[in-house]
């Protein structure tokens, strides 16, 4: 296909220095936060919608796949160029184009880190609500592609609830605006369809998001339990009492131990569960809500409930949760993060089964989960250098997803399908369901150039070439 002439044409669009094609450079772009690797044929640093459109048109001309890449934090292999081709490095399109307070919108470029938007809005008294745990390193373009969640979804929803407009370079290289600052644009909700499409429908180059005022007050609590059931029952009791906390996060004993050994945030090593609860909103009833929640925690067996008195104490209650993945990484060389979701009341049962899976495959599986929305993240620990362990990890991960589906849940709450869960798609979808999604793909990307080889299993009976 003439790799040389492809690279030359790319250089004409973005300049010589903005195209990487040496083996060493390309190796840096062959992985993300998942476990697979595949080297791209070229990496292009893009700086504008026009450049992205130009690059995509060249890819069309040569019939070469393209994959956008933001922070590279994807946990399901979404950023890995599994069919080779061109990786578009979006990270330099990182400007906040506009903070439009009268219209309660912000217009941003996709390479902006999620946290940077929050940091820019906070002094103005505003916030963008979705805050995935990876927000320091995850870009808004990546959030859009994955429909990212985070610890505040129970009350505030996920990325798609806060993205109102997109500028998109379609897979044929044309540019279209979907939605915008106004709501209810006539026609199909292409913004809604695009959010969560994992780079398979095109590349967004500008995002219009909803911004809201910072809550007047926030209160954070941490409850400590001797059994995971008690923690789960507390969560159900809080919801049944008609309260809608902004956060309900749980960690199990293995995570607590890892966290405590790594950052010493004062968690008792002999407890089995901690539950972090945060309520926010108008300040008038926050103290009453805190009291009601503390009472519920105690009724349901909490041995201790800590209530943050100020911002410093709040940060310290959060420190353990925010540091959880990092702390766990100290225990073993690798881990696979599962991302199943179940109806919240099924959590205790699923967690019991996860511990059975852990015994069955002889793998350590600490658990972190968003208890309010039923999204659990068992972290299956292993050593990637041991092929036998890796095989067991894959089996264990699949078994956990099967459990989630059995309980009325699904295979991914916020990390995406990517490469990891292609086969698991059949656990939740029929062939007809999958075909209907492929129809969407075809309407956007007839040539199958936008991040191909992701998300969809091949039709039954057809096998993937090795």
């Amino acid at each position: 296909m003439g790799a040389k002439s492809l690279v030359n044409e790319l250089r004409q669009i973005v300049g010589k220095a903005n195209v990487l094609d040496s083996t060493v450079d390309l190796q840096l772009y062959q992985y993300d936060a998942y476990l697979e690797e595949r080297r791209p044929d070229a990496v292009v640093f893009v700086h504008s919608t026009d450049e992205v459109a130009g690059v995509v048109r060249v890819c069309n001309k040569y019939g070469v796949p393209f994959v956008p890449r933001g922070g590279g934090t994807n946990l399901s292999g979404g950023t890995i160029p599994s069919k080779g081709g061109v990786v578009l490095e979006m990270i330099r399109m990182n400007r906040i184009l506009e903070v439009d307070r009268p219209n309660l919108r912000a217009r941003v470029q996709p390479g902006l880190f999620n946290l940077e938007l929050g940091t820019a809005l906070a002094p103005l008294g505003y916030q963008y609500l979705p805050d995935p745990a990876s927000q320091k390193a995850a870009t808004l373009g990546g959030n859009v592609a994955e429909n990212s969640g985070g610890p505040h979804c129970f009350k505030y929803g996920v990325t798609t609830n806060h993205v109102l407009g997109l500028t998109v370079v379609l897979p044929d290289g044309s540019v279209a605006k979907f939605g915008g600052k106004a709501l209810d644009a006539p026609g199909y909700d292409l913004t809604g369809v695009f959010v969560g499409s994992e780079g398979t429908l095109g590349i967004c180059t500008e995002v219009v998001v909803r911004i809201v005022r910072l809550a007047e007050g926030v209160k954070t609590m941490l409850a400590i339990y001797d059994s995971i059931e008690e923690g789960s029952q507390t969560v159900s009791a809080i919801v049944a009492a008609g309260m809608v906390p902004a956060t309900l996060e749980m960690m199990d004993q293995l995570v607590i131990k890892a966290v405590e050994e790594s950052i010493h945030c004062g968690l008792p090593l002999d407890c089995t569960t901690v539950l972090i609860i945060e309520v926010d909103g108008l300040k008038d009833d926050l103290d009453a809500q805190v009291q009601a929640i503390v009472d519920l925690c105690k009724t349901h067996g909490a041995r201790e409930v800590r209530v943050a008195k100020d911002e410093a104490e709040r940060a310290s209650l959060w420190a353990g949760r925010r540091g959880a993945f990092g702390a766990v990484a100290r225990i073993a060389p690798s881990y696979l993060v599962c991302d199943g979701t179940v109806p919240r009341t099924a959590l205790p049962k699923v967690l019991r089964k996860v511990s059975e899976v852990s015994k069955k495959y002889n793998l350590m599986i600490p658990n972190v989960f968003h208890a309010g929305d039923g999204n659990l993240h068992p972290l299956i620990l292993f050593d990637w250098r041991d092929p036998d362990q890796k095989a067991r990890v894959m089996k264990a991960g699949m078994e956990i997803l099967e459990l989630c589906v059995e309980m009325g849940g699904t295979i991914s709450g916020e990390h995406g399908v990517g490469l990891e869960k292609i086969d698991a798609m059949r656990l939740v979808f029929t062939e007809a369901d999958i075909r209907s999604q492929v129809r969407v793909k075809q309407a956007f990307d007839r040539k199958n150039l936008a991040n191909p080889g992701k998300m969809f299993p091949l039709p039954e009976g057809v096998h993937r070439a090795a």
């Binding site: 919108r105 909700d189 929305d373 039923g374 399908v417």
Partner: protein, 454 residues
């Protein structure tokens, strides 16, 4: 080629039973869309039957018009063709109400008001409040993307649908999403079908996320001598930390209709601003206090409406257009959507259109969402249709210049012949056409009524 409707009727009778496939004149006329009557009206009783009927129609190349409660049948352009009306009101079962997990699954024909009553028994609610909710069905709510005042705090159908089942013209039955809040397994297919007006398939079942019913509610209604102070209060509210559920602006005509029903005396020419607040007693009391002070500070008169009466008051407010008389020549209901900060501007322009052309009208707005509703009555003194059409087009241009849109939510067919219901399609229309072609290659699903003739 005309479809073989006699043959099709026989097939449909096989599927739904003889008495549920009707071809007589009066029924067909009752279920006509923009004056276009279908030859057949079928009333399937199960989701399987919906799927069977749709597949049979598609095979016979017969165009199908889905019909829930009929609340949104005025929306969109006149159908390009209509052979079979598919009534969905017999699909009225609550499939699963999982109160502990705050979600409910219902068949498409379940009426919203009835659903709310069932949910309230477990102290839960679906916070979507379109007008005419005793008529609106779950499927219609979603397919037509209907909304009401409380979209300010809670959003719209796209934010509350967790899953759905859809019958496709291919004969396939597919499900999208699920019953969990966070779900990124594959594309977010729910978004494709929300607001697609039955042009891609027929929604047969919907799973909604729910909220605990707030402990207390209240409303504050403000009366202002003119619009400027009211819009100033809106601006200040949006800059504040207050969290009203709803904030509707009503022009003098709308206020005149609403005021007596709320037990208020509105001075002539006074416009209104109503806010709804909900939550704990403490936050509700505080917001009632703050809003009353806001209203008075801006020179308005504030009347708090306590819990118990506030729900009824809001029922009146969101249904205000239904209080207008229905002239023989019809009426035009426009929904204008603009960036929030431009609401006041378009609100004024919509009212001015009515006055300039001698059309009795009422204008309201979901003021924190940028949504303006303008209803114009085509009474005996109305100018010729072409003048009305020109006026609507110029209002639409103004909305589009503000990066927004104007959609005819309801209008007589003869006027729709002059004014497109949706306006000119913009970016993304090529993709929309391809989506339509992928899902409905024969063009049998509600053809012609959607954007750009889809």
């Amino acid at each position: 080629m005309r479809p073989d409707l006699a043959g099709l009727r026989g097939q449909l009778e096989q599927i739904v039973g003889v008495e549920r496939a009707v071809a007589d004149g009066p029924t067909a006329i009752k279920f006509s869309v923009d004056g276009i009557a279908s030859a057949l009206v079928v009333q399937p009783g199960t989701q399987d039957e919906v799927s069977g009927v749709l597949a049979a129609c598609a095979a016979a190349d017969a165009a199908v018009v889905p019909w829930g409660g009929g609340a949104a049948m005025g929306l969109g352009n006149p159908p390009r063709r209509a052979d079979v009306v598919m009534r969905l009101d017999r699909l009225d079962r609550v499939v699963e109400f999982d109160a502990a997990n705050l979600c409910v699954t219902v068949e498409a024909g379940v009426k919203l008001a009835a659903l709310q009553i069932a949910l309230a028994q477990k102290r839960e609610t679906l916070p979507l409040d379109p007008p005419a909710d005793s008529k609106v069905t779950a499927g219609g709510l979603v397919a037509a993307n209907l909304s009401g005042p409380s979209r300010l705090l809670y959003g719209t159908a796209r934010d509350w649908v967790l899953g759905m089942r859809v019958a496709l013209p291919s004969g396939e039955r597919v499900h999208c999403g699920g019953k969990v809040i966070k779900n990124v397994s594959g594309y977010d297919m729910n978004k494709l079908f929300v607001g697609s007006l039955g042009t891609l398939g027929i929604i047969t079942e919907v799973t909604f996320k729910l909220l605990p019913l707030p402990a207390t509610r209240a409303a504050v209604v403000g009366l202002f001598p003119d619009l400027a102070p009211a819009t100033e209060v809106v601006r200040r509210t949006l800059e504040s930390v207050l969290l009203p559920e709803a904030m509707d602006l009503l022009d003098a005509d709308a206020m005149t209709l609403v005021a007596p029903r709320l037990g208020l005396e509105a001075p002539a020419g006074a416009c209104g601003l109503a806010v709804a607040v909900a939550g704990s007693r403490e936050t509700v009391e505080r917001q009632v206090r703050d809003f009353s002070a806001f209203f008075r500070g801006a020179g308005g008169r504030a009347t708090p409406i306590p819990d118990g009466r506030s729900v009824l008051a809001w029922d009146t407010i969101r249904n205000v257009m239904g209080l207008l008389p229905a002239p023989l020549a019809g009426r035009v209901l426009c929904k204008i959507a603009v960036p929030i900060g431009r609401t006041g501007e378009l609100f004024v322009s919509a009212g001015a259109l009515g006055r300039r052309h001698g059309l009795p009208s009422a204008v309201t707005a979901h003021a924190g969402s940028g949504i303006i509703w303008a209803c114009f009555l085509l009474g005996p003194a109305a100018p010729p249709d072409e003048a009305v059409a020109d006026a609507l087009e110029s209002l639409r241009r103004e909305a589009e210049d503000a990066e927004g849109s104007l959609v005819l939510q309801d209008a007589p067919a003869r006027l729709k012949a002059r004014v497109d219901a949706w306006g000119k399609p913009g970016d993304g229309f090529d993709v929309m056409k391809r989506l339509k072609a992928e899902f409905d290659p024969m063009g049998v699903c509600n053809p012609g009524r959607f954007l750009g003739g889809i």
